[in-house]
């Protein structure tokens, strides 16, 4: 599990970690049933206070993203909160529409917008290939 802590950011450390774990779960890079590192292990790896990691795990457990099994560790929940995923996707679609409207208002043609989307998808695919 790769997490990145930005030091000196305005975003609190716990929020940085919880949003990255959530994103990993929603993008299925972390699969239901995957075991997460223990609080101590993750604290050590990230050089972050154990209580911060504990709070993140508890929050994500309460949100149904993670499943804290007593004495057996923390896992990605079997049934990830699909409602939340659906909401996030709807939110994304709204933002996307606004972006398209913005592009049109700048005088970009439909074709140019389509080309932009293609190019963005391609560079994303390339970077994924490069990373693996």
């Amino acid at each position: 599990m790769f997490l990145r802590i930005e030091k000196g950011s305005a975003v609190p450390i716990s929020r940085q970690i919880s949003s990255q774990i959530t994103a990993l779960c929603l993008s299925e890079q972390l699969q239901p049933g995957d075991k997460l590192p223990s609080v101590r292990e993750l604290a050590r790896e990230l050089a972050v206070n154990q209580n911060t990691i504990l709070r993140v795990y508890e929050k994500l457990n309460a949100e149904g993203i993670l499943d804290k099994r007593h004495g057996a560790g923390t896992y990605v929940a079997d049934s990830p909160p699909l409602r939340q995923l659906k909401e996030q996707r709807e939110h994304f679609y709204e933002e996307f529409q606004q972006l398209v409207r913005h592009g049109l208002s700048l005088g970009l043609s439909r074709k140019e917008l389509q080309q932009m989307l293609e190019a963005a998808l391609k560079s994303e695919a390339d970077s994924v290939t490069a990373a693996t």
Binding site: K7, G8, I13, A47, N49
Partner: protein, 304 residues
């Protein structure tokens, strides 16, 4: 609530005409990692040296693990792992000689732990102390501070002079060797972005007194900058605890330190505003040099 292991009550200390500590008062609970933040000259080192019994305060009380550092400095030394700013050791001794020398002072010295730390810290035992790098020097100091199983450690600006990689290693050592053992930690620093991931509690020391002591994350959730555009009225300053106010032509920016408390009110009254999260550096700056007076020509605040 855990047990209080350190209680400092109205400590005063002056050097000549200069008052360095002014009614300094704070408490630390068992197992916490507490960071003492302050500018140069804020009183960090004077505070720490008073705790170690190296300085006699003019007035006030310190209770550290049930002892007074001024009356029982030996008892304090037995129970506290201490790392001074710019720790001086004998340069002509080798690492192992230094360890043997220091171990003689402690009944609780753990030779097995020393062996483990020597390996983990990758310290060359036959090298003379004067030939160690800055990072190795601090790790030797850390080893000496930990080897007698202290109940609490006190570090004066331990990461001063360490490069970013060594700082991260040091932070990791604090988490794995101290927090994991439920050892209480009090340390001073002025590298706020290094403190934030590590400290349970931050204390902002300014001109010899604590301006704010709070859990690190709570501080981030409570100290926010709120932007009101021209024509909108902020809540009255009976409600908002403003620590910095800035005004531009069309905007009023108030940094408050009780955001969680006033947020429902802002929503309830439909006061238009934008909230900005702040970095620990910005929070520190707002406390230290912020000017809370509301500037002229601002909209009438809404009072209850």
């Amino acid at each position: 609530m855990s047990d209080v292991v350190l209680k400092v009550d109205r400590l005063n200390k002056s050097y000549g005409q200069q008052l360095v500590l002014k009614d300094l008062t704070f408490a630390v609970e068992e197992g916490q990692i507490v960071a003492l933040l302050g500018r140069n000259g804020a009183g960090k080192t004077t505070t720490i040296r008073s705790l170690m019994g190296l300085i006699e305060p003019d007035s006030g009380e310190i209770n550290l693990l049930g002892y007074s550092p001024q009356k029982d400095p030996i008892e304090i030394r037995k129970r506290i792992g201490y790392l001074a700013e710019d720790q001086q050791m004998y340069g002509w001794m080798t690492v192992i000689e230094t360890i043997q020398f220091v171990s003689a002072f402690y009944d609780t010295w753990d030779h097995t732990l020393v062996q483990r730390l020597l390996q983990q810290f990758d310290l060359p035992i036959a090298t003379k102390v004067k030939a160690l790098s800055k990072g190795q020097n601090i790790r030797l100091g850390l080893l000496l501070a930990l080897a007698h199983h202290p109940q609490m450690v006190i570090f004066d600006d331990p990461v001063l002079g360490l490069d970013p990689i060594m700082r991260k290693e040091f932070n990791r050592d604090m988490i794995t060797h101290l927090q994991a053992e439920n050892c209480t930690v009090l340390y001073s620093s002025h590298l706020l972005y290094e403190v934030e991931p590590i400290a349970d509690i931050v204390m902002i020391l300014h001109e010899g007194r604590i301006l704010r002591q709070a859990p690190t994350e709570e501080l981030k959730e409570n100290v926010k900058r709120i932007i009101f555009s021209s024509g909108t009225a902020p809540l009255g300053n009976k409600k908002m605890r403003v620590i910095d106010a800035q005004q531009w032509e069309h905007q009023l920016a108030l940094t408050v330190d009780n955001f969680q408390q006033i947020e429902p009110d802002l929503e309830l009254r439909g006061i238009e505003h934008e909230v900005q999260d702040l970095s620990l550096d910005e929070i520190f700056e707002a406390y230290i040099i912020g000017r809370p007076e509301l500037p002229f020509n601002h909209p009438e605040p809404v009072e209850a």
